[in-house]
């Protein structure tokens, strides 16, 4: 694979990179090189399937992506703030540690996979197994907010963090379609706006009432969500939310204990 010639324009603290036909390794190498000195913003245009964008940059920087980024967008990311003006593919935010990803569209399967810090906001729907094995420790509490609805195994094996589904594109009276929500969940919390039937939930979660702390969590996250995508936070917060909590910290502790 030959390194691809990349067109880079600098103006002040902004760098614009045309990524058409650029191989993902070369693009990420270029990103590592340009994120130095006083660069505050990187505009990526003609992105089409390049993987791992935003990984290994290790500091705060704004990255605006025009096009469709490839799998594992923001994997292991530690600091940058990514805006995607389009849709994201699978594995977005894989194990990210710090920073923010804002998707002005939909995202694929396993979004927020093993996320351990930072925030992800998705305007529309997400795929399967979103939020799988999110975790948290002390002050590191990852948040994932989905404007539309999710597919099956939402929050599977969740071990921490806050997962919010707003159901903004559901019609009146329509329930979320996801099944096996929270299967294997053993820590963290999930808030779902709009209705789900009991049989759609995994065996390991229960529905509980929201308390003052939950309302505070939601107020903050929904305000940010509304701000990103031009919604009215009050209107969203006026809807009915349910809260899902794990029933056990070790749901499979006795699985192999005979």
């Amino acid at each position: 694979m030959n390194p691809t010639a990349t067109s880079i324009e600098r103006s002040g603290t902004t760098v614009k990179i045309d990524a058409s036909g650029v191989y993902y390794r070369d693009l990420n190498t270029v990103l590592r090189e340009v994120v130095t000195g006083d660069v505050e913003r990187i505009d990526l245009v003609n992105i089409c399937g390049q993987r791992y964008i935003g990984t290994d940059l290790g500091r705060e920087v704004e990255i605006n992506i025009h096009g469709t980024p490839g799998n594992d967008l923001g994997a292991f990311m530690d600091g940058p703030r990514i805006n995607v003006y389009g849709n994201a593919q699978d594995g977005c935010g894989n194990t990210m540690n710090e920073g923010e990803i804002v998707i002005h569209g939909h995202a694929g399967d396993i979004t927020g996979f093993s996320m351990r810090g930072g925030k992800i906001f998705i305007r529309d729907n997400v795929g399967y197994r979103v939020g799988i094995h999110m975790k948290q420790y002390l002050s590191k509490v990852p948040s994932l907010v989905i404007g539309g609805t999710a597919q099956d195994f939402l929050g599977e094996y969740m071990a921490g963090g806050i997962l919010v589904v707003l159901g903004l594109n559901l019609r009146a009276g329509e329930t979320h379609k996801a099944n096996f929500i929270g299967t294997g969940m053993h820590a963290g919390v999930m808030y779902i706006r709009g209705s789900v039937e009991r049989h759609q939930l995994g065996k390991e979660v229960g529905i509980v009432e929201l308390n003052a702390q939950d309302r505070e969590n939601l107020d903050l996250l929904v305000a940010e969500f509304a701000n990103h995508f031009g919604y009215d936070a009050k209107e969203i917060l006026a809807g009915d939310f349910i809260k899902l909590l794990p029933l056990s910290l070790r749901p499979y502790g006795r699985l192999y204990a005979y």
Binding site: R25, R51, T68, G70, D90, H106, Q151, F153, H199
Partner: protein, 380 residues
């Protein structure tokens, strides 16, 4: 043994990020187009494969021989070719035969000899056998009876082109920019449990059925034994082969609608069936009982195609990706959305289908002359 590590892992990484790539595009108005776009699209997912298999299925390419079965056959040597051609002349009218045109492509190493034959059953076909059944039987005879020959395409007005290499290399080698069809499927392979060889590349095909697949059919053994009872003999050493024969059995021979066949291969879970209305429960229970041996276990996304129809399907808990897109009359199916966007940036809509729910594109005028649109079939 030849060390292929440098070929598929030039960076010497300890982890290879590959998975298979699949892509399908169909113009439901019947307009034919070349292989240029699908080659670009599948090449955009280069890293999902490892160069040990690439291939294409294309429909509507042989209108001048539309009534004849187009047999694409690969041979290891001229001697085998002579024997197989004698066998073809004994059992078929051979209307036309030629070597499949290729060009020198640096990446394609030691290719087999590949010929195509436009044939029709002759008087040897028993009266109680349909033309299609006769062709299936003789394809099986060639694939099991001649050591160094492999029939890898046997439908009418369609063809499979495949081999060892990345799909874009296979496309270059077989000059696919020179063909036109209304429906194309493509595959980039990352073999997991079997070796990379020319016959083992996707699509797998029988008659005009083709299948490209990303995943692993762990029920292969059960599926294969069931299919053997109906005369299908697996010779390609790869799990996906059973899917091609399963769709031929279910859709052509048993006459199931595709919606039902999808529920045979990816049946609803029992817990889901329990919540359905009585008549649907009865249907899904019968399908699970009658065809339990055709349930495809393990992770899969497949694109099945045949004359006038393209179907995308994942396993019921979607352990492999599939994105669908629509632009006007064209339906796209892909492992990754970016591959679709590369050749069609302004899609009308894209979505990820639910596991086990088929996405179906049909020619707007189907066999019954009934108008069908993508929008009706492809419900998100």
């Amino acid at each position: 043994m030849k060390d292929t590590a440098n070929h598929y892992n030039p960076y010497g990484d300890d982890k290879v990020i590959a998975a298979c790539s699949i892509f399908g595009m169909m113009d439901t108005s019947g307009r034919r187009f070349s292989g240029v776009d699908i080659t670009k699209a599948i090449a955009n997912m280069h890293d999902r494969g490892n160069g040990l298999g690439g291939g294409f299925g294309v429909y509507g390419i042989y209108p001048e021989h539309a009534d004849h079965y187009a047999l694409h056959i690969m041979y290891e040597d001229k001697l085998t070719q002579r024997d197989v051609e004698d066998f073809l002349r004994d059992n078929f009218h051979v209307a036309f035969a030629e070597e499949v045109p290729t060009r020198r492509a640096a990446a394609i190493k030691s290719p087999p000899i590949v010929w195509r034959y436009f044939v029709y059953p002759n008087s040897r076909r028993p009266a109680d056998r349909s033309n299609d059944d006769y062709v299936v039987e003789l394809v099986m005879k060639i694939n099991t009876g001649f050591r160094d020959a492999c029939v890898f395409s046997s439908g009418r007005n369609m063809g499979v082109f495949k081999g060892v290499g990345y799909p874009e290399e296979i496309s270059e080698y077989f000059r696919l920019e020179e063909y036109e069809g209304y429906l194309w499927t493509a595959h980039g392979r990352f073999p997991t449990n079997s070796k990379g060889w020319w016959g083992g590349a996707h699509p797998f095909s029988i008659l005009d059925w083709t299948v490209v697949h990303n995943g692993e059919i762990s029920s292969y053994g059960i599926n294969r034994r069931f299919l053997e009872m109906f005369g299908y003999i697996c010779t390609m050493h790869t799990d996906t082969e059973v899917v091609a024969y399963a769709v031929d059995l279910l859709l052509r021979r048993h006459g199931l609608p595709i919606e039902a066949a999808a529920k045979v291969m990816a049946p609803p879970l029992w817990s889901h069936i329990d919540r359905l209305p009585d008549n649907e429960q009865a249907l899904y229970k019968s399908l699970r009982q009658v065809y339990s041996s055709l349930l495809l276990n393990g992770p899969f996304t497949i694109i099945v195609a045949h004359e006038g129809e393209m179907i995308g399907l994942t396993d019921r808990i979607r352990l492999r990706p599939l994105t669908a897109g629509v632009k006007g009359d064209v339906l796209y199916l892909s492992s990754e959305e970016s591959a679709i966007r590369l050749i069609c940036p302004d899609l009308d809509k894209t979505w990820t289908p639910m596991g086990g729910e088929p996405i179906i594109g049909r020619l707007k005028t189907n066999k019954e002359g009934k108008a069908v649109t993508i929008e009706e079939c492809a419900v998100a």
